[in-house]
């Protein structure tokens, strides 16, 4: 069988000195993981818009109360039910409080509660989930039973009871209540990821090298579990904001004169007929906050998901 010998250059020397490396243009341009994440995120116009809107709201919710001090709770009887003016674009309510300032303060409260409680949820959830997922066996079993018990009661029900009993109107109690009921979801998520990657080669390799458990968990496994956790947290912020608003609406959360989107809505109910706009601005702002957090979560999910199918 005659075959060309492809390893020796032609006698004519055409290939004398020809390099054997791969030509650069053959390689697809390399982008780092984070660059790809950013690219994918930027494609989500809604998510980007949400990020911007959220940023603006955050700025306003910090700036306005900082600049106006405790104006939000001061009731000036001269302005009872007054209409919109330059310093009060949304007018005043029935006890003379500047609604726009109150709205911003309420937003601030919502955002604080949202972010802090999610922080708690994320921390406890990662801790429990990673231990359960990594250790397996009876530790996993025990922790998951505990999670099951907490998950068996509807969140709102539990939170309601906790807040009602331990501190109606106390922001700290609300945050803690949301935190200690919500961590279960995060724990399940992290645990699932850990179970999945526990048998991955790179984890085995680390173990074989004698790397300690804590380091393996923190440095090698946790980053992989971060993606779904981050998405869950974004959506969790939305949930926390809704929960706080619902509690305040029902009278168990932040109470007057401290403003909350929820109690402003409750208050507005009496004015259905007289001043219907009062049910709109807190409601719309709340919807806006929640929507932005949700779209942000969606965008993050699509951006961080490594299983993106690119049809080429």
């Amino acid at each position: 069988m005659e075959r060309a010998d492809l390893t020796t250059p032609l006698a004519s020397g055409a290939l004398a000195g020809a390099p054997a490396e791969i030509d650069e243009v053959d390689l697809v341009p390399v982008r780092t993981y984070w660059q790809m994440v950013r690219e994918r995120f930027m494609q989500h116009r809604l998510a980007v818009m949400s990020l911007v809107i959220l940023a603006v709201l955050i700025v306003f919710s910090i700036a306005v109360p900082a600049l106006t001090g405790d104006a939000y709770r001061r009731s000036n009887l001269a302005y009872v039910d007054a209409g919109p003016s330059l310093t009060a674009p949304l007018g005043y309510n029935e006890i003379g409080q500047n609604q726009s300032v109150a709205l911003m303060k309420a937003t601030q409260n919502s955002l604080i509660i949202g972010f802090v409680s999610v922080l708690i949820i994320g921390s406890i959830g990662s801790l429990v989930g990673s231990i359960a997922g990594y250790a397996g066996g009876w530790v996993d079993n025990l922790l998951m039973r505990a999670v099951d018990v907490v998950l068996s009661l509807p969140f709102f029900f539990l939170i309601l009871i906790i807040v009602a009993f331990f501190g109606v109107g106390d922001v700290r109690v609300i945050i803690i209540a949301i935190g200690i009921t919500g961590w279960t979801v995060a724990a399940r998520l992290v645990r699932a990821e850990f179970l999945r990657i526990r048998e991955a080669d790179y984890v085995q390799a680390a173990r074989a090298l004698g790397v300690g458990h804590r380091r393996i968990i923190v440095r090698h496994m946790l980053p992989s579990a971060m993606a779904p956790l981050v998405v869950a947290c974004a959506l969790g912020v939305a949930d926390a904001i809704i929960t706080e608003a619902a509690l305040s609406y029902l009278g168990f959360g932040i109470a007057r004169p401290e403003p909350s989107l929820g109690n402003m809505l409750n208050n507005a109910r009496e004015y259905f007929y007289a001043n219907p706009e009062r049910i709109f601005y807190p409601g719309i702002l709340l919807i806006l906050l929640v929507l932005c957090a949700s779209f942000l979560g969606d965008g993050l999910r699509d951006a961080l998901d490594p299983r993106q199918k690119v049809k080429a």
């Binding site: 075959r3 492809l6 032609l10 290939l15 049809k311």
Partner: protein
């Protein structure tokens, strides 16, 4: 005389003719020319092996024949003829009449290619009843018959089982049964044995040979495994980066291959009993489809690359019924202009040579 429309010896006449098929994918990063000017012919009852590395366009060629290309892909131009019928001119309903009835296709992964919530028997019967108006009982009977034909023991019981209850080899047999239940003229098999282990592979190939005999069916066998080609194929088409680089009957391709790529593939097959220090490889990597080199697509990996290779080589006959896309003469020598020629002379010579072909 023969031009680009390759002609093997086809004693029984042509069943499927593909002429200058171009299927492009419009992606966000650019246009990927997955199939770029492919032409070949499958004779009645002949088995054609379509060989090439992953990503060379062989699967897309098959899917183009079936007209199963989806967004962002599109069949740009070309002609696909089944007997006298121009497949690209049919409307969707007519094409459905061809799919599964005159041309059947089986795929690589039998586990995911069968619907997990329907029984095997149901899925086979469905293939029959879609094309022929026969009753359920008759369809069932034919199903069981087919299952027996493909070598599944206890066919009657197995027909009521679900895909997950069968082993990989059996599932592929079910796929084959489903494909052949309508007695198609052409079977397209896309890597049918790649996902199976070696012993099962042999069984499936035997089965296909047997059925091929019995039904006098043509087969388009797509694979990257030259061993399978050697077993099954009458004719061979070698593809690289969306183009056909060599085609001939199987014997010629194995014994007297011309194109450096084909020869590289053959050289890289490890051989039992031969002592070597290192395996032969074709150096380099397949070109980035978004950034194809000018001229011959293989030049960067070719030991024979010359200046003239910066011009696209003609696809011409190097022997009777044997075509190759290369500047080398049929004897394997550099063309008359010489290997040393500078780019301009080479380009001029290229233009001249192309016109001759």
């Amino acid at each position: 005389m023969t031009g680009d429309n390759g002609r093997f010896a086809t004693p029984g006449g042509d069943l499927l003719g593909i002429e200058d098929l171009r299927t492009y994918f419009y992606t966000r990063d650019g246009v990927v020319k997955a199939v770029d000017g492919v032409s070949f012919v499958i004779g009645n009852g002949r088995t054609l092996g379509l060989v090439g590395e992953s990503g060379c366009g062989k699967s897309i060629t098959a899917l183009s024949v079936m007209r199963l290309i989806e967004r962002p892909g599109r069949i740009e131009t070309g002609a696909i003829r089944l007997g006298d019928l121009d497949l690209l001119a049919l409307d969707e309903e007519q094409m459905r009449g061809v799919r599964g009835a005159r041309i059947s296709m089986i795929f690589q992964e039998p586990m995911t290619s069968l619907n997990p919530v329907f029984t095997c028997g149901d899925q086979i019967s469905e293939a029959i009843t879609v094309h022929e108006s026969i009753g359920r009982t008759e369809a069932s009977e034919r199903t069981i018959e087919m299952l027996a034909q493909v070598g599944i023991p206890d066919a009657k019981r197995r027909a009521h089982e679900y895909p997950h209850q069968l082993s990989g080899g059996m599932r592929q047999r079910v796929m084959i049964a489903m494909a052949l239940s309508t007695h198609p003229e052409l079977l397209i098999a896309d890597e049918p044995t790649t996902a199976l282990d070696v012993t099962i592979q042999a069984q499936i190939l035997e089965l296909m040979k047997e059925l091929r005999e019995r039904n006098r069916m043509a087969i388009m066998l797509i694979t990257h495994d030259l061993g399978v080609i050697a077993e099954m194929a009458d004719d061979v088409v070698v593809m690289y980066a969306g183009k056909v680089v060599e085609q001939a009957d199987a014997f010629t391709v194995f014994e007297r291959s011309h194109h450096p790529y084909t020869r590289g593939l053959l050289a890289s097959i490890p051989r039992l009993g031969v002592k070597r220090e290192r395996l032969e490889v074709i150096r380099g990597v397949v070109p980035n489809p978004l950034n194809l080199p000018a001229g011959c697509l293989f030049k960067r990996r070719c030991a024979y690359a010359m200046a003239i290779c910066d011009n696209p080589p003609p696809f011409r006959e190097v022997a009777d019924g044997h075509l190759s896309r290369c500047w080398l003469t049929p004897a394997g020598e550099p063309p008359s202009v010489g290997a040393e020629a500078d780019p301009e002379t080479a380009a001029a010579a290229a233009a001249e040579l192309s016109m001759e072909a």
